[in-house]
Symmetry: C2
Subunit: 422 residues, 2 copies
């Protein structure tokens, strides 16, 4: 397949919430209480909610426009960012220039899974803002471009009944998935095995929605050496997705909810053959435990019925695509994080797919068809297939400048244009 003929749907990207997003989506009585971006004395833009500085939208989370030497964990200002991080119209142009038809975007300020609202004290206020996030996401981020985004919501994890209600509410608004904790017990919540989350999982099944579990949520599950360098924080999380699969596969969850679909967001795919070899052997070897995965089924069969995994770059994993399961693999872009391949994603992934010997049919499955099927989201509802390709999208974005520029340079340009000024 020619690179220009590929179709790319990315199921893991990130939105940097723009500073004014909450105020437009809360009832008037709450308007003074919304999270606000405040520039501190060091020139750093900080989100402040309930009197606490909760997060900055920067450092490693929005490096897409910068040269590698400027990456790092130092916080910064909105004006230093490539505007596609927080401006949906610019984002779509950045998708065009990268040949990406559609994207599913995780929150940043809210945490990948609403953690910021869970950690705030006043939960009534947290719920209002969480709902404002979801409303903003569907109305302002996805709304203007229904053909370009798969809507992804968040839920109030501090109260499972409220989570059910929020799923009911956002399902009606067209959300196709929620982002949740990959290892709730690692953060003081009941585990997936406890049954506590079952009403929420039932609601997802009822609405035919997907449970997205993004890496990083299980971070607290591992005790690292105190001297662990920054590399550990970047390398290790994608190596822990197996623990999430194990909790769901060997706990009661998947057997209790045969219709549940779980996306392992940013978890990679190369760990799966090793893990499936292990669990199938375990199941057959340790017969004394008395596990059952259904008539004649192996754990790997059940895994493949429920999970979608995705990769940014995973050459070894692609070589073992048959062992993983061809329907299980999807692609992601991870814009605007450091791991993203933007703006050369088409070349990058085409090269990997070619080197692993994928057929055209396999490439279609991996780059868009599996994701579309899994999220029940038709990529061609608004865009005819011939206009959805890498070549067609790039053809209309020839004016998009993809040059990496220093934070300083971005600040000058953005401030001059009144972009990202707090």
């Amino acid at each position: 397949m020619r690179t220009d003929d590929m179709i790319l749907v990315s199921i893991d990207d990130h939105v940097i919430e723009p500073p004014d997003m909450y105020e437009r989506h809360v009832p008037a009585k709450w308007r003074d209480e919304v999270p606000k971006v405040v520039k501190n004395d060091a020139g750093v833009d900080q989100w402040v909610f309930q009197g606490q500085a909760t997060s900055t939208p920067f450092g490693m989370a929005a490096t897409v426009g910068w040269p590698r030497e400027e990456w790092g964990f130092e916080p910064g200002a909105f004006s230093e960012l490539r505007p596609g991080c927080f401006d949906v119209h610019q984002r779509v142009r950045d998708m065009d220039v990268n040949g990406v038809l559609a994207s599913m975007c995780f929150p940043t300020m809210a945490g990948f899974n609403a953690r910021t609202f869970n950690e705030a004290v006043d939960k009534e206020l947290s719920l209002v803002m969480l709902q404002a996030y979801n409303d903003w996401h569907i109305e302002e981020w996805c709304g203007p471009y229904p053909d370009r985004f798969i809507p992804l919501g968040i839920v109030p994890m501090w109260d499972v009944d409220l989570a059910v209600k929020e799923i009911d509410r956002i399902a009606k608004r067209g959300f196709r998935a929620i982002s949740f904790l990959e290892a709730p017990h690692a953060q003081g919540h009941p585990s997936f095995l406890s049954g506590h989350w079952d009403p929420m999982l039932q609601a997802l099944v009822d609405h035919d929605m997907v449970l997205c579990l993004h890496i990083g949520g299980a971070w607290d599950i591992v005790k690292l050496a105190p001297e662990a360098p920054v590399d550990h924080w970047i390398v290790v999380p994608s190596q822990l997705t197996m623990l999430t699969a194990q909790d769901l596969l060997f706990g009661p969850t998947l057997r209790r909810f045969p219709g549940l679909r779980v996306a392992l967001s940013e978890g990679g795919i190369g760990w799966i053959p090793f893990y499936l070899d292990r669990v199938d052997r375990h199941f057959q070897n340790q017969a004394w435990i008395g596990n059952s995965f259904g008539d004649g089924k192996l754990p790997s069969d059940v895994f493949r019925e429920h999970f979608l995994a995705c990769f940014i770059t995973d050459p070894s994993g692609l070589k073992l695509r048959d062992e993983i399961g061809l329907d299980v693999i999807a692609w992601e872009c991870d814009y605007p994080h450091t791991d993203t391949t933007w703006p050369e994603s088409p070349e990058f992934v085409a090269n990997e797919l070619a080197r692993s010997g994928c057929t055209d049919d396999e490439i279609h499955k991996i780059t868009w068809a599996n994701a579309s099927q899994f999220f029940r989201w038709d990529p061609f509802a608004h865009t005819p297939k011939e206009r959805a390709t890498v070549g067609a999208l790039r053809a209309r974005a020839t004016d998009v400048d993809t040059t990496r520029m220093s934070r300083e340079e971005w600040r000058k340009r953005n401030e001059a244009a009144g972009i990202g000024v707090v």
Copy 2:
């Protein structure tokens, strides 16, 4: 290659220490203080040391002779075991009938890595017994069969200077490796990254010995859900070896000790391609961190210079042997644990090697040559090559009965023969 023509060297098996082993290897003044096996009221044989019942040698650790339905974590008695678990002469016959030329055996009562002695209060006494273990291992376990065992020692981890002295001592006695904690910080010790263990690592390098890090030692590194079923305890440990590799590769250790060789015992091999893809991409992508792995080297190059990995059954991993590195892969039997393929190991591994398309040369590397080279242990020093094969070994063990029998049946037979009676 015909199965009968293979040569098998297993770098991970386990000895169940026999009840009388310590008393023969301590000075007279300590004879009353040795760990003793005491049968409790429930008929369970327990090791008692310093007034504490420290471990039982059973449950999942010695199931080799039993039908699968009888496996489990219940403790038991020596007399219920297949004698090859604790009797070296019977062990060698069990190796013969399984076509295994040589084996490296980890302790059980002492813990894979001397943990039992580390946890005891009186460390002077612990050191005496630890040394007695090493002396027993070299004199009684390996001594009568120098062609069948690669000597593996343990060290007093509570005092790194003592550990150095013990390495100096056992190196002179012919030990080729020590077994140590895969994640010391997970058990309250300084981490590998701390530099605390450097004198011990230097001693290993000075004596050209190998650091063996067996799975299970890092168990405490992960916070599992309280409801985690027994499956987690069996499936997860081999999935965590990556954390050990990460500590050594991105900490200062491997760069500080270019001659250090590390065996990842029972860690499997299928995780390695995914991990190496990740760390090479990380190194190249996150240039701002300023890592260096030596002139023009990638992290994967350094990994391959230092590590030996091994597998029991790992079909997907074998398919990616080129991505792992052909010199990095070794085989293990895991006798007498549940994961062992005894007594059909030759057929089991031959089938996997054949299905992955291994050449004869690759099979030799994986089944014996890599291990022999890594541990600087010549398998043909005492046994001519033509007598070291699966076929030759099995030919002299045609009288060995490999029938699985119930614990009850073993007890009857062993007690009648005066075997394992405490």
